[in-house]
C-alpha cells in the first residue's frame, strides 16, 4: 500500500524549479533574470537553455547574467554581451541577418508554395 501511494505521489510530483541563490533587489530584476536564463542557450548541452542546465559553464553564465541584472543592465545589453562572445547561436531568438534569413523565411516560403498549389488546384477544379 505504501509503495503504491509513494508511486502515485511520484507520478503527480512536478519538477520543482531549480533553486537560484541570487539576491535580487526587486521582483522585476528576478523576472528579467528568469526570462534571460530561458532565452539563452546552454553552449555545452546545446538543446537546453541556461535555466535548465546544470553544466558548469551554464552556472558561470547564469552568475554573469545575475550580476548584470543586479547592476541594472537591460535585457538587450545582456543578450548583446553573450552574442558578442558566443555568436547568434547563444540566443533562442536569433536576430534577423543574412546568416539567419533562411531560418526566418523558410516557413513563409513553404507557406507560399502550399498556397500556390492550393490556388492552382482550386482553379483547375472550377474549370472542370
Amino acid at each position: 500500500m505504501i509503495k503504491k501511494i509513494s508511486l502515485l505521489l511520484m507520478l503527480i510530483a512536478t519538477p520543482v524549479w531549480a533553486i537560484e541563490v541570487y539576491d535580487f533587489e526587486t521582483p522585476e530584476q528576478e523576472a528579467l533574470y528568469q526570462q534571460l536564463a530561458k532565452d539563452l542557450r546552454c553552449l555545452v548541452c546545446q538543446n537546453q537553455n541556461l535555466a535548465d542546465s546544470e553544466a558548469g559553464l551554464a552556472k558561470d553564465l547564469k552568475d554573469q547574467v545575475a550580476e548584470f541584472v543586479m547592476a541594472g543592465q537591460d535585457a538587450e545589453t545582456i543578450k548583446q554581451y553573450m552574442i558578442e562572445r558566443y555568436g547568434d547561436f547563444v540566443t533562442y531568438n536569433p536576430p534577423m541577418n543574412l546568416g539567419t534569413a533562411f531560418l526566418w523565411f523558410s516557413p513563409l516560403v513553404v507557406f507560399l508554395i502550399g498556397s500556390l498549389v492550393l490556388f492552382l488546384n482550386i482553379r483547375r477544379k472550377q474549370h472542370d
Binding site: L57, D60, E84, R85, G87
Partner: protein, 176 residues
C-alpha cells in the same frame, strides 16, 4: 506527361534532402563559429601558475601566440596534449596555457605527469576570461597575432591534420 513530371517533384525533393543531409553528415554541428575572429583579445589580468606574476593581454603584444584552454579535469585535453607539446617544441609559436576552472594542485600534478610545454600558464579559476573568449568547453585553442588580434579558433581536440592543414599555414602567415 506533365502530370508524371509533377508527380516526380516530391521524389526529387526527397532525394535532394537526402543529399543535403549526407553532405552535412561529416560536419560537427556542435562546433560554433566564433564571433571573436578578427577582434582583439579581450582584456584580462591573470596570475601565472608557477611564477605568480600577473600578466595582462598587453604583455603578449609584439609576437604571435597560441592560447590553449585546458584543465586537469578534461580528458580530451590529455588527448591533444602531446600535439600541443610537439607544436610548442618546434619553436614556431609561443604557446600559452589558460588553466580553466581548475585547482592549483591538480593543474600542477597534471602538468607534472603529462609535461608542461607552455611558455606561461595563466590561471582562470573563476572562468571570467573563458566567458569573454566565448569558451564553451575545453580544450579550445586560439591563434593571436602580434597585434593581439584573434585570427583563428578551434573548439575541441587538436589533431595532427588540423595542425598541419589549418594551424601551421596560419602561424606562418601571422609570423611574417
Amino acid at each position: 506527361m506533365k502530370k508524371a513530371l509533377i508527380a516526380l517533384i516530391p521524389l526529387a525533393v526527397f532525394f535532394s534532402l537526402i543529399a543535403l543531409l549526407y553532405i552535412n553528415m561529416g560536419n560537427h554541428s556542435e562546433v560554433l563559429p566564433s564571433p571573436l575572429i578578427g577582434k582583439p583579445v579581450p582584456e584580462f589580468e591573470h596570475q601565472t601558475l608557477y611564477s605568480k606574476e600577473t600578466l595582462t593581454q598587453a604583455d603578449f603584444i609584439g609576437e604571435p601566440w597560441l592560447l590553449n584552454v585546458f584543465g586537469s579535469w578534461c580528458p580530451s585535453c590529455q588527448v591533444e596534449h602531446p600535439l600541443v607539446a610537439a607544436l610548442a617544441n618546434t619553436g614556431k609559436i609561443k604557446v600559452v596555457g589558460l588553466n580553466w576552472k581548475d585547482e592549483e594542485q591538480d593543474a600542477k600534478a597534471w602538468l607534472q605527469k603529462w609535461g608542461d610545454p607552455y611558455h606561461e600558464v595563466l590561471v582562470d579559476y573563476e572562468g571570467d576570461t573563458a566567458i569573454n573568449l566565448g569558451v564553451y568547453g575545453a580544450p579550445e585553442t586560439f591563434l593571436i597575432d602580434a597585434q593581439g588580434i584573434i585570427r583563428y579558433k578551434i573548439a575541441g581536440v587538436l589533431t595532427s591534420q588540423i595542425i598541419r592543414d589549418e594551424l601551421l599555414p596560419l602561424i606562418e602567415e601571422v609570423s611574417l
